[in-house]
């Protein structure tokens, strides 16, 4: 960050909050200057491109990194949260196998959002599909609606969560594309952890980004493209 930029932030930080006006006791009208991160922009569409040719069978690095980053137990029982899983698919006619990670596909038209009765499931302006746990009532409609089985329900009381990733009993959760990292300018933990560079993360709308160029030059597919949900996660070599 440039020098001027830092100073500006400092200035805004000290003046931020000064413009909150009390309009009635207990009711506030905020006019706070937003100094830290701007709102997610709809010009951006975050996505991932997964190259199954690079993804190694038996490797679980992305899953481990996700669990660590988001504070998941790593267990895979029926009632354990899994935000990303490794799956192996086999062509039974010739025995050819491919290995790939599956997670929330961050659809442009997410069925989970359509069915959610409380608007807890929502799509952020930059295409990230999230659960607002403050509103989630744990009905699990979204889990039934998701064609990718991407969501998990938290069954047990949790303690010692990562301060960046609040999560708790009675709500549904799924891959957040590491939204807390993205907002800091970092890439998702899984993409960072993959030594084989099988996960390419980027802005699908940015003509200068690697992912933008790659989806235009290589053959990539969306899983269950027939559902016309336009997922932000794409796969190569399927």
């Amino acid at each position: 960050m440039s020098d001027i930029d830092t100073q500006r932030r400092q200035f805004l930080k000290t003046s931020a909050g000064a413009a909150a006006i009390a309009i009635a006791p207990g009711m506030m009208l905020y006019q706070t200057v937003r100094a830290d991160t701007a709102a997610a922009s709809s010009k951006v569409r975050w996505g991932m491109l997964i190259d199954t040719a690079q993804c190694k069978e038996g490797c679980n690095d992305c899953v481990t990194a996700c669990n660590k980053e988001n504070g998941l137990s790593g267990k895979t029982g029926a009632t354990d949260s899994q935000w990303i899983r490794k799956i192996e698919i086999k062509d039974i006619s010739n025995g050819h196998t491919v290995s790939l990670p599956m997670m929330c596909q961050h659809c442009e038209h997410p069925p989970c959002v359509d069915v959610c009765p409380t608007q807890a499931s929502f799509k952020r302006a930059d295409g990230i599909v999230l659960v607002d746990r403050h509103l989630c009532i744990g009905c699990r409609y979204c889990m039934m609606a998701c064609p990718y089985k991407a969501r998990s329900f938290v069954h047990e009381t949790l303690t010692d969560q990562n301060p960046d990733v609040p999560r708790g009993k009675g709500t549904v959760e799924s891959c957040s594309l590491c939204v807390h990292r993205i907002d800091k300018g970092q890439i998702p933990a899984c993409a960072e952890a993959c030594q084989n560079k099988a996960i390419l993360f980027g802005d699908l709308n940015d003509a200068n980004s690697e992912i933008y160029k790659k989806v235009r030059s290589a053959a990539t597919v969306q899983i269950r493209a027939d559902l016309q949900l336009n997922p932000g996660v794409r796969y190569q070599g399927l």
Binding site: A16, G26, A40, D132, D164
Partner: protein, 122 residues
């Protein structure tokens, strides 16, 4: 009229004093300068938190100084790094006194990040 006035005064002063004496003694942690003055925060922190949570979760606007994490960072006890662990912990002490149940910490971390990181490496 004057009698009534002084009677009221007599009743009110001890009540006010008593409230002050019974007020919870809180472990304010690192403390220091807050984003607002103490009295404002006592009365309005919940509105600020709720406003900020919607901005952050739904729009991605993150204001570092007003983040939930920042509250915990300053106000977690310097002895156990927590805002909820003891009777006089910053959040618990007052909420118990006011008899207002909070469920923030069912999801949010009640400890400083550094405390959690230390635990992990142990």
């Amino acid at each position: 009229m004057r009698l009534l006035g002084s009677l009221l005064l007599c009743l009110c002063i001890p009540a006010a004093l008593a409230a002050e004496a019974n007020a919870p003694k809180l472990d304010v942690g690192k403390g220091g300068e807050c984003v607002k003055d103490t009295q404002w925060m006592r009365k309005n922190h919940m509105h600020m938190l709720k406003h900020q949570r919607n901005e952050t979760v739904r729009k991605g606007v993150r204001v570092e100084a007003e983040a939930f994490k920042a509250c915990v960072e300053c106000h977690a006890s310097t002895s156990d790094n927590s805002v909820t662990a003891r009777e006089d912990s910053f959040c618990v002490g007052c909420h118990r006194y006011a008899a207002v149940k909070i469920d923030c910490f069912e999801c949010h971390a009640s400890k400083r990040k550094e405390a959690l990181a230390k635990k992990e490496t142990k």
